[in-house]
C-alpha cells in the first residue's frame, strides 16, 4: 500500500507563563492511501496537537515547532509557507472538529460555508458552488438539501451540523480527512450514524481518514490501523485486530480494560487506570507511563524504551518486550470477548 502521509519524529511545544509544555515529543506514524488510522489516547496525550500540526493550524506563538517532518506528496509540510499551506488546507487535507455546535459560523448560511472552499480551490462561480453544495448535502444525507442549504447552523440539529461539517470538509475531494473526535459531542445513536456515513463516504471517495478519538468503540467501528498515544508519544501501533487481540503495551491494556463489557455484572466496578497523565511541562525521562504502570521496572524510569517490531504492522515501545524483562501475559481485563470486534458492532 502506498503511504500518503508520513509523520516523522514530530515535536511541538507550547510556551506558557511557567514553562515550556512539550505536548508532542517525537511522534512517528504514517497513513496509507484509502485507509482509516485511529489515533487513540486520553486527554492531553497530544492527539489533537498532532492532528492540527498536520494542517499547520497550531497558533505560533504560543505553539512552537521543535523538530521532525510531516511528508505529504513528497513535500515537508512543516517547511511550507502560510500561503502554500492555504492551497493544501481544504483542498488536499481537510479537518472536522469535535463540537459541531461551535465549529460552524453562526452568522453565515450553511450553503455559503460550503461554497467558500469550492470558490477558493476550484474557481467555481457562486452559482456552481451553490449547486455543488446541494449535491454535497445530499451526499451526507441531509433531507431537503435545496431548502436546507440556505439555512443557518442554529436551524440544524447536532447530528446534521456534523453532517454539514463533513460536507464542507469533503467539498474539494481531499486526499486526507482529519477527524478530531467527530462523535464525542453527539449522542450515541447519532454517533453511529456519523461513523456509518464516514465509512460510506470513504468507500465512495477513497479519502484516507485520520480519526482522533478516545473511544475504543469508535476505533473498532471504523479504523483499519491504530496508533495509541500517551504523554506526547506513540506507545503502540498496529492493525485494529492486533491492538484489540494482541495488545502488548500496558497502557493499551489499561485502555481496553476500562471499556465496559456486555457480560459485566452490573454491580461490578468499572476499571480505570489509576493516577493521572504526566506533566508535560516536565516530562519523565523514561517511559511516560511509568508512574501508572503496574508492571513498571527500574529501567522504565530513566530510559525510554525503543520500539519492538512485533509484526510488519505492529510496533510497541515497552521494556516488557525486551528479552531481559520478565514475561507478562495480557491481563484478563484487557481481553476482548470472543467474536471479532468488527462483527460485534
Amino acid at each position: 500500500m502506498k503511504k500518503i502521509l508520513e509523520v516523522n519524529d514530530l515535536s511541538i511545544s507550547f510556551d506558557t507563563y511557567n514553562a515550556e509544555v512539550k505536548a508532542v515529543r517525537g511522534v512517528t506514524f504514517h497513513l496509507n492511501e484509502k485507509e482509516t488510522l485511529a489515533i487513540v489516547g486520553e486527554s492531553g496525550s497530544g492527539k489533537s496537537v498532532t492532528a492540527q500540526s498536520i494542517m499547520q493550524l497550531i497558533p505560533m506563538p504560543p505553539g512552537k515547532f521543535v523538530g521532525g517532518s510531516i511528508i505529504f506528496n513528497g513535500e515537508d509540510l512543516t517547511q511550507k509557507s502560510e500561503k502554500q499551506m492555504e492551497n493544501i488546507r481544504g483542498k488536499e487535507i481537510s479537518m472536522i472538529f469535535q463540537d459541531p455546535m461551535t465549529s460552524l459560523n453562526p452568522t453565515m448560511t450553511i450553503g455559503k460555508q460550503i461554497a467558500e472552499s469550492l470558490i477558493k480551490h476550484q474557481n467555481m462561480s457562486k452559482k456552481a458552488a451553490h449547486q455543488r453544495g446541494v449535491e454535497l448535502l445530499k451526499l451526507v444525507g441531509i433531507p431537503n438539501p435545496d431548502v436546507r442549504i440556505n439555512q443557518y447552523p442554529h436551524q440544524y440539529s447536532g447530528g446534521m451540523r456534523q453532517r454539514a461539517m463533513i460536507a464542507i470538509a469533503l467539498a474539494c475531494n481531499p486526499k486526507i480527512l482529519i477527524a478530531d473526535e467527530p462523535t464525542t459531542a453527539l449522542d450515541v445513536t447519532i454517533q453511529a450514524q456519523i461513523l456509518d456515513l464516514m465509512r460510506d463516504l470513504q468507500q465512495k471517495t477513497g479519502t484516507a481518514i485520520i480519526m482522533i478519538t478516545h473511544d475504543l468503540g469508535v476505533v473498532a467501528n471504523i479504523a483499519h490501523r491504530v496508533a495509541v498515544m500517551y504523554g506526547g508519544k506513540v506507545v503502540e501501533t498496529g492493525t485494529v485486530d492486533e491492538i484489540f487481540y494482541n495488545p502488548r503495551h500496558p497502557y493499551t491494556w489499561g485502555l481496553l480494560g476500562s471499556m465496559p463489557k456486555l457480560d459485566q455484572n452490573k454491580d461490578e466496578e468499572l476499571q480505570a487506570i489509576p493516577g493521572s497523565p504526566p506533566d508535560l511541562a516536565n516530562p519523565p525521562k523514561g517511559c511516560p507511563f511509568v508512574a501508572r504502570c503496574p508492571y513498571a521496572m527500574k529501567v522504565c524510569k530513566d530510559h525510554m524504551p525503543e520500539y519492538t517490531k512485533l509484526s510488519d504492522t505492529q510496533k510497541t515501545a515497552c521494556w516488557l518486550l525486551d528479552e531481559r524483562a520478565p514475561k507478562v501475559d495480557i491481563p484478563e481485563t484487557a481481553v476482548v470477548g470472543g467474536t471479532k470486534v468488527h462483527d460485534s458492532f
Partner: protein, 311 residues
C-alpha cells in the same frame, strides 16, 4: 414581525408613562419654582402667574392635565421665555444636537471598531499596546478636558479650526471629536475583547482549515460575529452622546438641545424640563428598538427568536 414591533411599541408607551410620572414627581419635589428669583416679585403678580400657568391647581389635576397634553405632544409654553412653545425650543435646538451626535457616533464607531480590530489582530504586540493606551486615555480623560485641549491645540495654536459656535461643517469637527472620545475608547476595548474571543472560536479554526487566507477569515468570519456586542452597545451609546452633549455644547457655545435641557433644570422651567425629558426618552427608546432590529439583521439566531416571540 408586525406583532413583534407592536409589542415593542407597547412597551415603549409604558416606559414613557413611567418616565413622565417619575420626572413629574421629582420636579415637584425639588424646591423652588419657575418664578423664584433674586428680585422679589410682588405676591399679587406671582399669584396671577401661578394661576395663568395652572400651577395653583391640585397636584393630581396638574398631573392628569400634563399626561393628556403630553400624549398630544403639546408641552405648552415655556415659563421663562415669553411666548415660546416648548416644541419650538426643541425644533430650534434639535438639529444642532442631532448633527453633532450623529457625527460623534460615526467617529466613535468607525475608529473604535478599527482600533479594536487592529489591537486584537496584533494581540500582545506594539500596535495592541498603543491602541489600548489610547483607549484607556480616552475613557479616563473627561470630555470637557478633551474639548479644551482640542480647542487649545487646533483652534488657538494651529489656528486650523474654528474655536466655537456652529456655523459650518468645520465648526462641528472639534466638538464631535470631543464628544466621540469616550465612546470611541469604550468601543475599541469592547471590540478588542470580543474579537479576541471570536478569533479563538472553533468556527474560525474551521474557516482556516478550509484554506481561507487570514484576511478573509478575519473580515468575513470574525468581524461580523465580533460586532454583536458593539451593536448592543449602540443603544446606551446614543444616550451617552445625547446626555453628554450638553457639556460640549456649553464649551463650544452651541445652542443645542442638551444645553437647553440643563438650562431648563436650573430655571425650574417645568414645561421645558418635561418636554425635553420626554423627547430624550422617546429618542432613547426608539434607538434601542432600532438596535434590536439591527441585531436581528446581523445575527440570524435573533431573527428566529423574535419571530417566535411574535407568534
Amino acid at each position: 414581525m408586525a406583532r413583534y414591533l407592536l409589542k415593542k411599541l407597547g412597551s415603549i408607551v409604558v416606559s414613557l408613562f413611567i418616565i413622565i410620572t417619575i420626572t413629574f414627581i421629582l420636579m415637584k419635589i425639588a424646591p423652588g419654582g419657575p418664578f423664584t428669583s433674586e428680585r422679589k416679585t410682588s405676591p399679587a403678580i406671582e399669584k396671577q402667574m401661578m394661576e395663568a400657568y395652572g400651577l395653583n391647581d391640585p397636584i393630581h389635576k396638574q398631573y392628569i392635565d400634563y399626561l393628556i397634553k403630553a400624549a398630544k405632544f403639546d408641552f405648552g409654553p415655556s415659563f421663562k421665555y415669553d411666548g415660546q412653545e416648548v416644541t419650538d425650543i426643541i425644533k430650534r435646538s434639535l438639529p444642532y444636537s442631532l448633527i453633532l451626535g450623529a457625527e460623534a457616533i460615526l467617529i466613535a464607531l468607525a475608529f473604535g471598531v478599527l482600533l479594536g480590530v487592529i489591537a486584537a489582530i496584533r494581540h500582545n504586540k506594539f500596535a495592541d499596546y498603543t491602541a489600548m493606551v489610547i483607549a484607556v486615555l480616552g475613557i479616563s480623560v473627561p470630555s470637557f478636558i478633551m474639548a479644551t485641549i482640542l480647542q487649545y491645540i487646533f483652534a488657538i495654536k494651529l489656528q486650523a479650526l474654528p474655536i466655537a459656535r456652529f456655523e459650518s461643517f468645520a465648526h462641528t469637527i472639534l466638538p464631535a471629536i470631543a464628544l466621540a472620545t469616550t465612546p470611541l475608547a469604550f468601543i475599541a476595548r469592547l471590540m478588542r475583547s470580543s474579537m479576541l474571543e471570536v478569533m479563538s472560536a472553533d468556527y474560525i479554526k474551521t474557516a482556516k482549515s478550509k484554506g481561507l487566507s487570514e484576511r478573509v477569515v478575519t473580515y468575513r468570519h470574525a468581524l461580523r460575529n465580533a460586532m454583536l456586542p458593539v451593536v448592543s452597545y449602540l443603544g446606551p451609546l446614543v444616550v451617552s452622546v445625547l446626555t453628554g452633549s450638553f457639556v460640549i455644547e456649553k464649551i463650544f457655545g452651541i445652542p443645542g438641545l442638551g444645553n437647553e435641557f440643563v438650562v431648563s433644570v436650573t430655571n425650574r422651567d417645568y414645561t421645558v424640563i418635561m418636554g425635553t425629558t420626554v423627547f430624550f426618552s422617546v429618542l432613547l427608546l426608539v434607538s434601542i428598538l432600532v438596535v434590536d432590529l439591527i441585531y436581528g439583521l446581523i445575527d440570524p439566531r435573533i431573527k428566529v427568536t423574535s419571530k417566535e416571540a411574535g407568534k
